[in-house]
């Protein structure tokens, strides 16, 4: 376990002892994340893995500026974050497409907002839809798409804006293994060409190792903490599929998995106790 922090590159996202608490209906407070300390350098690809309900989405919301931490600070490119994080693109875990726009309009809107002429935005959007394998579905409204198709439209919507920071919450969740790899390679390609800071939440540890520079593990909630931070030293550029055959990959996987498994079982035991921090 090598606590890693690259001092050379500027820090894109830094959470400093961020604690997030939710107020529950009965005036009690649920501390989801406690004193999270995480720095993502510019150009760094960080994957976050953790048991379900530990606070991964919460962490991304904080980095996006959608949630204010109860304590601690958030800095973006060394500036304290006030309000929304304008440098970030966020692919939400839940379905967040605009239901009143067709797939292509949903993608093009990211550019139109910046003032790109509509025609040009549409052309680029079509190109992006094609890259995510939905070139033929441009004129569908979201409700006419399957779960995986919607997710991919969302992916294109975020990527087309070319944000400096990418926040991705289980972006490949509802995709089949094969499409996942295609999308993963697409993401790596983009990231290699124009290094962004990426915060990538996934449940697939292999995927996390295959894609990321660092894998961060969170403990089970409540009061989840960051309990592990591994640097993945596999050579770049990587092919997601082939990298899995690497020996180093397997070692790392086993190491992280050991920690993770224990954590999940702990979390499962904890949250099961009725009358806990409900």
């Amino acid at each position: 376990m090598n606590q890693a922090m690259d001092k050379a590159k500027p820090t894109a996202v830094a959470l400093e002892d961020a604690t997030v608490a939710f107020r529950l209906a009965d005036a009690r407070v649920y501390t989801a994340v406690e004193r999270a300390r995480l720095a993502v350098a510019h150009g760094e690809f960080v994957a976050i893995v953790g048991p379900t309900g530990c606070g991964k989405s919460t962490l991304l919301n904080v980095a996006a500026g959608l949630l204010k931490p109860a304590a601690g600070a958030v800095t973006i490119f060394d500036q304290p974050l006030a309000g929304l994080n304008r440098d970030a693109g966020y692919l939400f875990q839940a379905d967040a497409l605009f239901p009143w726009k067709t797939a292509i309009d949903n993608v093009a809107i990211g550019l139109e907002i910046k003032g790109t002429p509509r025609q040009k935005a549409l052309e680029q959007a079509q190109a992006w839809l094609t890259s995510v394998g939905l070139g033929a579905f441009a004129n569908r409204y979201p409700h006419m798409l399957s779960g995986g198709q919607r997710k991919r439209v969302g992916l294109a919507q975020v990527l087309i804006r070319d944000p400096k920071i990418l926040l991705m919450d289980e972006p490949f969740g509802p995709l089949d293994a094969q499409t996942r790899q295609v999308m993963g390679n697409l993401l790596l390609e983009l990231w290699t060409a124009d290094r962004k800071a990426v915060l990538f939440v996934t449940h697939d540890l292999e995927e996390a190792i295959a894609l990321a520079d660092r894998v961060v593990i969170m403990s089970a909630g409540p009061s989840s903490r960051i309990i592990g931070d591994w640097r993945v030293e596999l050579p770049r550029p990587r092919d997601i599929f082939e990298v899995r055959l690497d020996k180093q990959f397997h070692e790392l996987h086993r190491e992280i998995w050991g920690v993770l498994k224990e954590e999940v079982m702990k979390g499962y035991a904890q949250s099961t106790q009725a009358g806990g921090t409900n």
Binding site: R86, W100, K114
Partner: protein
């Protein structure tokens, strides 16, 4: 149900209602006439009055005035309702401060305000438009206000994270999301716009259907009163159809109505 069958059913309903009306106003049941003709006239008289109006052409002038007033009241009232609704929804502080006053204003009996409208807007169409606007505005306002607040948080957050400015959020998120709320209120307020215009005319006017109705009422010509209301209602259906056409166009993106059980 096919369009033809639907139309047939609708006509059937009308026929039954008219027949009952005719029977109840002319034939005594259990020793008495259920709907005294002095208050209810009867369909035949009403229709001959309507035909008379259209045949002689006197109605057109009045109808045109009332329709014009209604449409103005509808358009102005809805536009104001939408604007203020959006504004309040996006400025929670403004909304919180003015909320009780808006509700108080909504409870003012418009009929009592008629002299003030007459004073400000004269006895021409504008005082009637003003009356209609005060009805339409509130109906649309409350719905748009709520509609904007009902926007899905995830979709809204997505819009914000995509970098939308407040104006772009309006256009791409709040507006389309609040549309179905808005249209619901528009369907209600079409009727109220007409009511406003007619009541306004009723309180003081030189022409319009309300004037015709009042004239008929003055000489206890109930057939005339009903005829006026009928003509009115028929035209409301037309305006409402126009609203529905716009609605269909703007809401193409919705999933088709829930599947049948």
């Amino acid at each position: 149900m096919s369009r033809a069958a639907l139309l047939l059913c609708q006509v059937l309903v009308a026929v039954v209602v008219l027949a009952l009306w005719q029977v109840f106003t002319t034939v005594p049941l259990f020793g008495r006439i259920l709907l005294p003709p002095f208050f209810f006239s009867n369909p035949i008289d009403v229709f001959s009055q309507i035909i008379n109006w259209f045949a002689s052409g006197v109605i057109w002038k009045h109808l045109a005035i009332t329709l014009w007033e209604s449409i103005l009241a509808f358009v102005i009232g809805s536009a104001l309702g939408i604007l203020v609704g959006f504004w309040f929804a996006r400025q929670p502080r403004v909304a919180a401060v003015f909320d009780p006053y808006v509700k108080m204003t909504n409870a003012l009996p418009r009929v009592v305000l008629a002299p003030i409208f007459a004073l400000w807007f004269g006895l021409g169409i504008w005082s009637k438009v003003a009356l209609g606007v005060t009805l339409v505005f509130f109906i649309v306002f409350f719905n748009v206000y709520q509609g904007v607040k009902e926007v899905s948080t995830t979709v809204l957050d997505n819009g914000r994270m995509l970098g939308m400015s407040e104006r772009q959020l309006m256009r791409h998120v709040y507006w389309p999301s609040a549309l179905s709320w808005m249209f619901s209120s528009l369907h209600t307020s079409v009727g109220f716009a007409v009511v406003g215009a007619v009541v306004g005319e009723y309180l003081g006017a030189a022409a319009g259907l309300g004037y015709l109705i009042q004239q008929a009422e003055g000489v206890f010509d109930v057939a005339g009163v009903f005829a006026g209301m009928f003509v009115l209602s028929a035209f409301v259906i037309l305006i409402d159809m126009a609203v529905t056409v716009v609605e269909r166009r703007l809401l193409v993106w919705r999933p088709a109505a829930a599947r049948e059980a």
